[in-house]
């Protein structure tokens, strides 16, 4: 029997994987071949999707960018025996894009059926939780701190400190909340985890529960990710049946149960306090901090709220020990980050590497340059609230502190590449427009500043490049940065000001001597 793998994650589905899987099964049946079609997760090599893999003695041979219409020809060429075809990319694990990566969190991604518990445990799953169940909660929090893991949602706060705070808090109920409201354009690593290795996230959340004494967990998933929601719900059901969840986690005295909550299309709900409001069923309005959610969180109870990647990285830290994870990375940015190559890039996908890699390496060695074939001009790192980096900044190591030195953010690790046809003034205006659409409205700098900001940039783009307008825009940005309650209003000026500083010609402004030198 031959196993043929056709991914079932939403990226592959969006390119017709469902039809491909059916066509392979039909064609094999007509030809009297013994073929089993396995629906695996995505490898994260999205530029190759739909990537069909055939199991052979040499390893799994990949066939990239397969179309339903190719199936008959693929069988004619003997692809079910791994034979040559134009679409063959050879043994998938030998593709340099994948082979050169340092996949720790994403070690298992795309190899197997995301919902198979046996596959999960045979590839190292549950080892972390089993170690944790033999440890004291204080030691677990200390080990997490020791691993150097910082919040991967963007804020980069040490996860161990958050967990310690929740553990130390006295309350009749504590919660673990997973922030899966991945709204940043250019990011999809959370989605890949949920659709391609959901048990890893579940295991991470159980560990968080055991460590802090929380007995209930919620995964808040954005409504734009319906496939993730379906996969998570099925995985949770199976985990419950397998005894991982419920009154007794793997037969121990720890109780932990897990639920999925669905967002409703609000970007600001990715901000942790707005997310908690939404999870309670209300409008996603940002809360003032302090108190921090670790002390007064969901329904006023102590709550660990971490991003998907943070929680999904926890299992490997406890499977291999904090030192193993800490040994990757640079400075205070320990471990790896799953970078997401997006936008105008030839080879978009997920690239997990230790901190310290540069944008230039990511864009050219992995991304292969732009898909348009034109020169890359600006890269926005860290989502819609991240800065636009010009080529002069592409050699800065990707590290939280190194990026902060130039006013940039690593954020959730998404990179969006723009070529030389881009207009950064238009993108700056869009940044303000997006803030105006998505502002929760609680604080004035964000609510009103975004609309005024959009108007000012429009005037500049229409030709009013007077000092007065530029000063007005800078002062407005200053007010938003200093006066907003959360990152929505507080960071929207980042893309705006970086566009203005590095690409003034797009605003109809001359380059200053310093800019010319750069």
């Amino acid at each position: 029997m031959t196993r043929i793998y056709v991914p079932c994650d939403s990226a592959a589905l969006a390119l017709g994987a469902e039809g491909i899987a059916k066509a392979i099964a039909n064609e094999a049946q007509q030809r009297g071949l013994d073929v089993q079609v396995v629906r695996n997760g995505s490898r994260g090599l999205l530029y190759l999707e739909p990537l069909v893999e055939v199991e052979t003695a040499q390893g799994r041979i990949g066939y990239a960018n397969v179309d339903e219409d190719d199936i008959a020809a693929l069988f004619d060429a003997g692809f079910h025996e791994g034979k040559a075809h134009d679409k063959s990319v050879g043994v998938v694990e030998d593709i340099p894009y994948l082979k050169k990566q340092q996949r720790l969190t994403f070690a298992r991604i795309g190899i197997t059926d995301p919902l198979s518990i046996d596959d999960y445990t045979s590839l190292g799953g549950l080892q972390g939780l089993r170690h944790v169940l033999d440890m004291n909660g204080d030691a677990v929090c200390e080990a997490l701190l020791d691993s150097g893991l910082r919040g991967r949602g963007g804020a980069a706060f040490p996860a161990g400190i958050k967990w310690k705070t929740v553990r130390a808090a006295l309350a009749d109920q504590k919660y673990i909340v997973c922030n899966a409201d991945e709204g940043d354009s250019g990011t999809f690593s959370d989605r890949l985890v949920m659709e391609s290795d959901p048990y890893m996230l579940i295991e991470g959340m159980i560990i968080a529960g055991v460590a802090t004494g929380a007995t209930k967990g919620y995964i808040y998933v954005r409504s734009e990710y319906p496939h993730s929601i379906v996969t998570l719900n099925r995985a949770i059901e199976k985990a419950r049946e397998a005894g991982w969840l419920g009154a007794s986690v793997l037969g121990t005295s720890h109780a932990f149960d897990l639920y999925v909550a669905k967002g409703a299309g609000s970007y600001v709900c990715g901000e942790e306090t707005a997310l908690l409001e939404s999870l309670e069923g209300k409008r996603g309005i940002v809360r003032a901090k302090p108190p921090v959610p670790a002390l007064v969180g969901l329904y006023g109870k102590p709550t660990v709220i971490n991003n998907v990647i943070t929680l999904a990285t926890v299992p490997i830290i406890f499977a291999k020990g904090p030192a193993f994870y800490r040994d990757y990375g640079m400075g205070r940015s320990r471990g790896t980050l799953p970078f997401q190559l997006a936008g105008n890039v030839k080879q978009g996908g997920l690239v997990e590497l230790a901190f310290g890699v540069t944008l230039r390496e990511l864009i050219y060695e992995y991304g292969g340059g732009t898909v348009s074939g034109r020169p890359a001009r600006a890269v926005q790192v860290g989502g819609p609230l991240g800065t636009y980096l010009p080529e002069t900044q592409w050699d800065i190591p990707l590290d939280y502190e190194e990026y902060a030195k130039v006013g940039a953010v690593v954020g959730h690790g998404g990179l969006v590449v723009h070529d030389d046809t881009s207009n950064l003034a238009e993108l700056a205006q869009y940044a303000m427009h997006f803030c105006a659409i998505e502002s929760c409205g609680k604080c004035t700098p964000c609510r009103i500043g975004s609309t005024r900001g959009e108007e000012v940039i429009a005037k500049i783009r229409e030709g009013d490049t007077s000092v007065r307008q530029i000063t007005l825009l800078r002062e407005l940005c200053d007010t938003m940065v200093a006066g907003s309650l959360c990152a929505m209003g507080g960071m929207t000026p980042f893309p705006v000001l970086s566009a203005l500083d590095h690409f003034p010609e797009d605003f109809g402004l001359p380059r200053t001597p310093a800019q010319k030198a750069a």
Binding site: K282, V416, D419
Partner: protein, 165 residues
Amino acid sequence: MTHPQLSDAAAEEVVRRHAVQGATLMTILHAIQDEAGFVPPEVVAPLARALSLSRAEVHGTITYYHHFRSAPPARVTVQLCRAESCRSLGSEALKDHIEGHTGCHFDSGHAEGTELESVYCLGQCALSPNMTINGELHAKVTPQKFARLYNAASAKVNADSEVTA
């Protein structure tokens, strides 16, 4: 588009069915919309009573979230991602093309049974531009691909409505 109003009794019944113990307002709104395709305005008052909230709180929640709609969806709903990644690969030119092809405008309600909505990120940023047509996700969309998908969706909706008629 007009739609028949729910009677008070029917609205009460919808709320009773979905406002189960422990369900939050958001969960209930999702359940109602998943079933009816939208959240009928008539359910606001009974929902407020059932959850001991003000009508303003319920109405405010429905209108706060882009996902909830207070009127039935169009026969064909196109959602085009207009965030940064899709912009870098021509989503704005695609938007103009779509408006020309359908004769409708983005974010301005129904026309000719089609509604065009701007959305901001569908999570397929390595395969931009992205869109959904009647909820089905499509990546690497070109004007030609859009025309094929849109025409197929329209034909399917028309065929389905003939069957029901």
